[in-house]
Subunit: 462 residues, 2 copies
């Protein structure tokens, strides 16, 4: 499955590849000052498809996200690009499948505190691309794309960083992990991080960044630490949700979203910012009640069943994205990179494959994106493919646990728009669909250049 690496480009060449296309800017045609929109990504960690009020959860109260959806567009077929944390985030920030950047591995599914590597320099992140157009940029929250200084957000286009370098459960004493650190820029400012304070501190940092950048375009990436385990809520939320601690944590996250959107509704900022809310992957079901719910979807985090990769997705841009839209088109976190760049009038890099599609017309309600296959990877392995309503599983495997992958020949075939829970295999009834999907897999594999994994190298222990 692995091929030789993409040819690494040096950094100046990468940046040069990001051409500014001022003429393509919204507003440029009618003679307005061409100020591009600001962007905010609000990313939950391990939040499942079924965990929000507006996605049907019975007892988790999420009035701010429900309002965000009512004022904007709620997606029902929004995918993350990988079912675990590190590859999913690499894909979100680059628009590229993790297998192209080496940010996946079956041996070590994510980066750990003893990892020696991180996101390669030659990857162009959303922050780097937007900086070419003068955006102020901030990463607040969990990074998880390399905790060593040369991989931290400052090396990937972020002016500012405040958060955890990896997951909040990564203090394995046996492995020699240090207590989980809280960083500002490259500096550890607290260790162990006080986890119950994280969500409110992220909110404060986000509000400060917005306040300081009212007069220029900005890109704010808030990667919440929760509801990844261990769950911690502040005193204001602890013990308040009927759903227990998991609910407390999601309700605190919801309140944070409410505060951030509140700041963006202020005079002078209203209508200038596109906000996207999502999750890095599905719910961690093996955590019991400390894990979330995929609603009607099958399985969860770690797997390429729908519950592992279909996640909540909400887009909010008052005046641009019509209120109360329900969007059932297939989109993914890979699409964020080319879409934001287009809206900012920046051409995506041409020297590499970009897997995401530019879907601004879908957001603005002017056109549906053309049909394209979506590939479900578990680590380096292509497990399934979706095209239109059809999904073929070549391989299946539970998200967690000892079970080996199971090969399906013919693949399992599900019509997801009719059978979102993946219960009724219809491969026998639709051999032509199976052939078409397998053809997509072959074409994809033929065009793929996958470098060695970056997730396996470890630092020497002293």
């Amino acid at each position: 499955m692995r091929h030789i690496a993409d040819i690494p480009a040096d950094i100046p060449a990468v940046i040069a590849a990001v051409t500014i296309l001022a003429a393509a800017l919204p507003g440029a045609a009618d003679g307005q000052q061409a100020r591009p929109p600001s962007f905010v990504i609000l990313l939950a960690d391990d939040l499942g498809y079924g965990d929000l009020g507006c996605y049907g959860h019975p007892t988790i109260r999420t009035p701010s996200l429900d309002r965000m959806a009512a004022e904007g567009a709620r997606f029902t077929q929004f995918y993350c690009a990988a079912p675990v944390c590190t590859p999913s985030r690499a894909a979100l920030l680059t628009g590229r499948l993790p297998v192209r950047s080496g940010m996946c591995s079956e041996k070590r599914r994510v980066l750990f505190p003893d990892s020696a590597d991180g996101l390669p320099d030659d990857e162009v992140t959303l922050a780097e691309a937007l900086k070419t157009k003068g955006y102020a940029t901030a990463c607040i929250g969990k990074w998880h794309l390399g905790h060593l200084p040369r991989f931290l957000p400052a090396r990937h286009g972020f002016d500012r960083y405040f958060g955890l370098p990896y997951s909040n459960d990564m203090h394995n004493v046996g492995r020699g992990d240090p207590p989980v650190p809280l960083l500002r820029g490259d500096e550890v400012i607290e260790q162990p991080a006080r986890q119950e304070a994280l969500t409110s501190r992220y909110t404060e940092e986000a509000l400060r960044f917005i306040g300081e950048n009212r007069d220029r375009p900005f890109f704010l990436y808030v990667a919440y630490t929760f509801p990844h385990v261990p769950l911690h809520a502040s005193a204001r939320f602890n013990g308040k949700s009927p759903r227990g601690l998991y609910g407390d944590v999601v309700e605190e996250l919801d309140a944070s979203v409410g505060e951030i959107l509140g700041a963006l509704r202020e005079p002078g900022l209203a209508g200038r910012t596109l906000v996207v809310f999502s999750s890095d992957n599905g719910p961690w079901l093996t955590q019991g009640l400390a894990g979330g719910s995929a609603g009607l979807l099958r399985e969860g985090k770690g797997s390429t069943w729908e519950g592992g990769m279909r996640v909540p997705g909400i887009a909010w841009w008052p005046g641009k994205v019509s209120a109360g839209r329900l969007i059932t088109n297939v989109v993914s976190s890979l699409d964020v990179f080319p879409t934001f760049l287009t809206l900012a009038g920046i051409e995506p890099p041409r020297d590499r494959a970009i897997d995401g599609r530019e879907v601004s017309a879908l957001l603005l309600g002017t056109a549906a994106p053309p049909e394209a296959p979506f590939f479900y990877y578990r680590d380096e392995t292509l497990m399934a493919v979706r095209k239109g309503p059809w999904k073929a599983h070549v391989l299946t495997r539970p998200g967690y646990g000892a079970a080996e992958p199971k090969r399906h020949d013919p693949p399992l075939l599900f019509q997801l728009e009719r059978d979102p829970s993946e219960v009724h295999d219809v491969a026998k009834q639709h051999p032509e669909v199976v052939r078409d999907l397998l053809g997509e897999v072959e074409r994809h594999r033929a065009g793929l250049r996958a470098p060695p994994s970056r997730l396996e190298a470890r630092t020497a222990r002293t």
Copy 2:
């Protein structure tokens, strides 16, 4: 489990028991003309908890029900009183558990075209009670409380009836069933009923009834035939939903709700009508893609797992029920009877047990109802009990299929607000809760007087 029958009361005595309490009327105190509110019940058949957009379904488009929820209150812990059709409807219209009226049976779970019996005369239906206060009443749609003339809606307080006497799949040729008839009043007007036209004809009838009764209080009970199988949609909806025929049928039902609410928004009617939408039981999972989805809930129709009995519930009364409320309190279709009566200024019958609670204060946002146990019956058998967030299963059994009931000692215990999917049995950790719930079961059984089943008698075949 069965005890001797309730003492039957003759009809005049029953009606006399329904005392009019004009002083309790909303509006009476401030000297207004005391016109009580009108009531509409919109009841889907076999619609699951997860089948509407506002309950998280990804591809069934229900803009009218979503708007109804946005303008009113959406319930996330709303129960029907029985997991199959006949007992559920008997309970809705009487406020009494079906075991009290004989409207349940393990041998024959619902009424069939060869059934000889129906809802007893001495039961007081919502329509009968409201008629004491001058309400115009109509039953449009599926009745299923006795198809012989002496059991039809006209005998139970409805001025008008248009619809099917039982389920739309009840044409078993081997059993000697006639084609499914469509009735107006007691007369068969079409046989077989053209099923693809039913939803739009129900809508027309409902709109006509509303139009003819603009100037007086009315009670309209629309019991949709669908999405019970066999699924039929009109040409306008057929083949339109991404969810396939099941989606077509639900989307047509949604459009019907939109038309009915539209009529109730007209000048002169606006604000005068409380509308409740729900389903008679959970989705019929063994029907494959012709059955619906219980979302994150376990199991479906026929069972006392949550998916069998927790259903969508939406209340709409502009100006009285605040817009956009999410109500997580436990309520059930049993509560409709005493609540509507209270709002109409009518005292419920005192000569019999009423299992529902009066929850008008919850609807109006002034107070939560006191905690009370909710009993999950499968036919005549008490299977489980809920109190607060806790549910104890004494017995479990799949909704359909050959599996025998399984007794649990100690009962299975789930904390439903934390574990809505009933995955984590916590009986061992909470013996005191188990004891309390078993005490509720004992008290309930001690006070129960259950007559013989009415669902088992068959007509002689010629």
